[in-house]
Each structure stands twice: as structure tokens, then as C-alpha cells.
Symmetry: C2
Subunit: 332 residues, 2 copies
């Protein structure tokens, strides 16, 4: 494989001229520029970007850490990050951690060893919680929550949850069940806070038995809903903390001969693409996945440039979407 010296020889100029012709053409005369370009064509030169990265001590790559790439919401955010990164000349190193701290560390190491210039973390909890994220690493958190620290972009989970529950209450619901994420997951905490705020504002007393713990998977939604089906005084509505669990819950309700939304209303969160196509289509909260990814990437680039974002927080608006899975409670 030919290198810059071969090109220089072929063109009859110095290596410095070739280098400049490629990275800063304004500094080179038109004559030399032509000679260099035809020499490049002739010897079939491709610059060795590894050498360039090495010299400039920048890899032009960023790591994106995600607990599960098959989660449709996450993959939307990642697509947007990748798009922005590509525009800016950066590569995206995909890090599917499956929630294993060891794998996370492995990827953080890539930044420490200069294979990546920074990290975007897609996950709810504080990045410092599980292990010490070295302070000198450029890191942006997306999809975080109120307790997340460091530069971050997120939506107002509490407020969004509150609009969902407010809406259910406005329809006339008083017994509103919840299928939550894992109890200590910060999204769960924030969204539950919104639920409680809403109940309190309406003067409805909180009933602990109406909260079923899931883990954001369809399967857990399916199981958690069974618990409501078995109750003598079932809730008339169920607030699910994501769409997957809502879809699972609807499945269970149908199997028990309970109609949605006539007998029980169900709401989701995230607005994954199936939310629009399931039966009934899901009343949910649209997270601006695209905007979140783009913004996170832009913040990370600023961080890499050396800007001090410290605790800069971007809280994006989420949209509440009413579809067919909610209705006024049945009178009986």
C-alpha cells in the first residue's frame, strides 16, 4: 500500500506539500495541487487514517453505550446519534452493555486508551452510580432523569407522567393502576412521582396495591397485568411506564375477556412505532428520540472540543398522544 512519501516522489514535491495539499489546500499553489492529485491517482494512494489519528491524538470516534440495542426506543436515538456523528466526521462505536457493568468498563477503557474521544450513555441512572466514571472522560447522558448528574439531555418524566394521569382522571377514572419499571430505576421514580402528584391534585388517595412492578419488557407487562385481573375491584385504567409493557398488559386483559378501552383503559410511554399499529392503538407519550440523539451528539462534540458543559441539562418537551386505548370508565 502506497504512502505519502510515494506520492511525494511521484509528484516531485516534498511530503509536507502532499500533506498540506490534502489537509489544507489553501496553503499550496495550484501547480503543486495538480501534481499531487495526479500522483495520488497514479499510485492509488489512500491516506492512512490510523496514522493521522495517532499523530493528532484524536480518534474521531465516540462510544454509544446502550443497555439493549433491540429496544426500539433506544435504536431510534442511536440512529439519530449516528446520523449526526457521520455529518461531523465521527464514527460511532456501538456498545451494547446488556446492563453488565463489566462490559461498560470495557468500553470506557476504549476512551481511556484513546480509541474513542467520548461517550454517550443511554440509560436512566446516574453514570457514576455503578462505578467511578473517570472525571476526565467526555460523557453525555441521554434518557436520564432528575437525579442524573453531568451534561445530559432528557425529557420531563414526572411532568409527562402527570399529563397522562391527569388525562385519565379527567375522563373520570379514580382507580388507576400502575405497571412500573424496576423500583429503583430512576425513570420509575420520576414517573411514579408524576402519578402521585396527579392523584394528590385530584384528591385521590394512593392505594399501594395498585402498583405492579415490571421491568420494561413486554413479558413483564403481560405478567403484571394478571395481578390486576385477579383483583375483585379492578382498576378502571392502567398507566404503564412504557409501551412494551402496555402491549403486554393489553394482551393479558384480552385473554381474560376484558375489553380495552371499554372495560379498562391502558396507556403507554415512549411511542415506539408499534404503538400506532397495535390493537387498540396506544395512548402514550412521544419522546423526541431524534432530537435527543442529535442534541446529545452536539453536546458531546462541544465537550470534546474542550468546552465546559459542567451540569448543562437539556430538558426536551414530550408530547402526549391520545389514541384508542383510553376511554371513559364503564358505569356499573
Amino acid at each position: 500500500m502506497s504512502n505519502i512519501r510515494d506520492v511525494a516522489r511521484e509528484a516531485g514535491v516534498s511530503v509536507a506539500t502532499v500533506s498540506r495539499a490534502l489537509s489544507d489546500p489553501d496553503k499550496v499553489s495550484q501547480t503543486s495541487l495538480n501534481k499531487v492529485h495526479s500522483a495520488i491517482d497514479k499510485v492509488g494512494y489512500r491516506p492512512n487514517m490510523l496514522a493521522r489519528s495517532f499523530r493528532s491524538a484524536k480518534s474521531y470516534a465516540v462510544v454509544v453505550l446502550v443497555p439493549d440495542i433491540t429496544n426500539p426506543f433506544f435504536s431510534q436515538v442511536i440512529r439519530s446519534i449516528e446520523d449526526r456523528a457521520q455529518q461531523k466526521g465521527y464514527a460511532v462505536l456501538l456498545g451494547d452493555t446488556r446492563g453488565v457493568p463489566e462490559r461498560e468498563k470495557e468500553y470506557i477503557r476504549r476512551v481511556e486508551t484513546r480509541l474513542a474521544d467520548g461517550v454517550i450513555q443511554l440509560r436512566p441512572d446516574d453514570p457514576n452510580r455503578r462505578f467511578e466514571m473517570p472525571a476526565d472522560i467526555a460523557c453525555v447522558n441521554v434518557c436520564g432523569c432528575e437525579s442524573t448528574s453531568g451534561p445530559r439531555v432528557r425529557i420531563d418524566n414526572r411532568g409527562s407522567a402527570r399529563s397522562v394521569v391527569d388525562y385519565l382522571i379527567s375522563l373520570g377514572h379514580r382507580r388507576i393502576g400502575v405497571i412500573s419499571g424496576l423500583k429503583d430505576n430512576p425513570h420509575t421514580v420520576d414517573r411514579l412521582a408524576g402519578y402521585l402528584e396527579s392523584l394528590e391534585a385530584a384528591g385521590i388517595e394512593f392505594d399501594k396495591s395498585l402498583v405492579a412492578e415490571g421491568d420494561f419488557t413486554t413479558w413483564s407487562g403481560l405478567n403484571s397485568a394478571k395481578q390486576f385481573c385477579a383483583m375483585p375491584d379492578k382498576p378502571t385504567a392502567i398507566f404503564c411506564m412504557n409501551d412494551e409493557m402496555a402491549i403486554g398488559a393489553i394482551q393479558t386483559l384480552k385473554q381474560h375477556g376484558i375489553r380495552v378501552p371499554e372495560d379498562i383503559s391502558v396507556t403507554g410511554f415512549d411511542d415506539i412505532s408499534y404503538a400506532r399499529y397495535c390493537d387498540p392503538s396506544l395512548t402514550t407519550v412521544t419522546q423526541p428520540a431524534e432530537e435527543m440523539g442529535k442534541l446529545a451528539m452536539d453536546m458531546l462534540l462541544r465537550l470534546i472540543e474542550g468546552e465546559d458543559l459542567a451540569q448543562e441539562e437539556n430538558v426536551l418537551p414530550a408530547e402526549f398522544v391520545i389514541r384508542k386505548s383510553t376511554a371513559i370508565p364503564r358505569k356499573d
Copy 2:
């Protein structure tokens, strides 16, 4: 940031000894090993992998090209590729091309410029079709079809389609509609071939009006199904070429008051996770996404090692799964 020379000075040995202590400890005495390790701890040394990559002319990264990462089937395959890559010490550079050849070229360039050691392409068509893939690039194709060339791993699309249609015929269906992908998509070609084989084997004449062209999106399934709803002699079953279109089609049928499967049976392809949870759950074909990703990564590594895989093809078995969206045709 400290480098190998700092460590050498601190440990009182040469840089070569430090380098060997890290990459080939057997060649170094226990005494030196200890000195080196404590020196590393003392100066907080992290090896510069960029320098290592540069020197060894290997980036230990592979590009994964995918038309759309939000497609749940693709993201499953990618997760498996990433898992395997991580195990083998490789990083995955995500390339979401959105089907734009220009973006694809951009990523191929990364391999040419030594930023990645090879490429895995997730897409049905021949990688050489749209533009010339340089011959010296290590490239493996996944999710390809019968006409794909080069090293590849795929399932038997024709055979799988045939088992689906054979099953529908065995239930008693004679008018079987198809919602296909784009006409020139090789998956469409292979799966349609399976459909035709099946009809022929059963002595059923092919009716061109029973094939509706979609594009593998839910939305297109939704629209294509309308065309069947408008027919005076509707098909009694619809073979959809992926799950998304099947889900869209079911949605449309329901809206027209047509019951699935009582009035019309519907089948999908891919077995995305939602296929199990939609209503009715989908009879479909399970592609071994995990196995495909793992195998593709292993093949790529062998290719990078210099092995000649030429036209090695791995055709994996796909499993036909019967769920609730299919039944015997209604008698009337």
C-alpha cells in the same frame, strides 16, 4: 498523559521490556514484571491503543452496515455481532446507511483508510450491485439471498416461504394473497419463488391479482391489505413477506370488520419480538438472528486473518412457527 517511556524510566528498565511485559509477559523475568507493574500503577499509565493500532496496521474494528437500525430484526443481528466482536477484542462501527449508496461508500472508505479491518453488510442485495466494492476488502454479507455473491450467511428464503404456503394449503386455502416487498428486492424474489413452487405443487393456478407490492414497512402492509379488502372474491389467506407488513395488514382487515383468522388467515416472516404479542399472535418464520450474527462475525474474522473464504455460504435453518393468525378457511 504518561507513555511507555515514563513507565520505563520509573521502573528502571527499557521501553522494550515494558512493551514485552504488557504484550508477551513470558519473555520477561518476574523481577522486571513486578517493577513494570508497580511503575504502571505509580504513573497511571494507560497504553495508547491508537499508537498500537497504527504500528500493527490493524484497527481491531469492523464496520456493520445496515439499512435501518430501528428494524427490530436487524438490531437483533447487530446485537449478536457486537457480542461476538467484543469477545474477540473487536469494536463495532455502526453504519446506518438508510439505503443511501453515498453513505455506504463513506463507510467502505473507512476500511480503505485503515480505520476498520472489514465490513459486515446486512442487506438482501448483492453487495456489488450498486457500486464496486473494492475486491481487497474483507466483507461478509448477512441476510442475503440466493443471488448474493461473496462470503455470506443467510436462511433458505425460498424453502421457508414454501413451508408457510404449504401449510396454508394444507389447511384448505386455495386463494392465497401475497403482500411482497419491493419487486426487485432479492428477498421478494426468493420468497415469491417459494410461493409459486408451493402453488404449483398443489396444482393451484397463479393469479397475478393476488400479489400486492409493499416495501417491508408496517405502513405499506396497511395499505396493501386495502386492495384485498376491496376485492369481490377476497383471498382466504395472506402470506406477508415480513412481520411488520403482516401487522399492518391485520390492522386494516380488522378495520374492515374482517376477523383474523376466522375470515382471513395472515402469516408473517422474521418473528420479531412483537409477533408473539400482537393480536392475534402471528404465524411466522423465525430467523436465527443470533446465530446469523455470530457466524457472520466469525467468518469476517477468518477473512481478516487472511483465510480465503471465497464463496463460502452458510445457509441456516429457519423455523416455521404456528401461532393464532392462521386457521382453516371459512366455509361459505
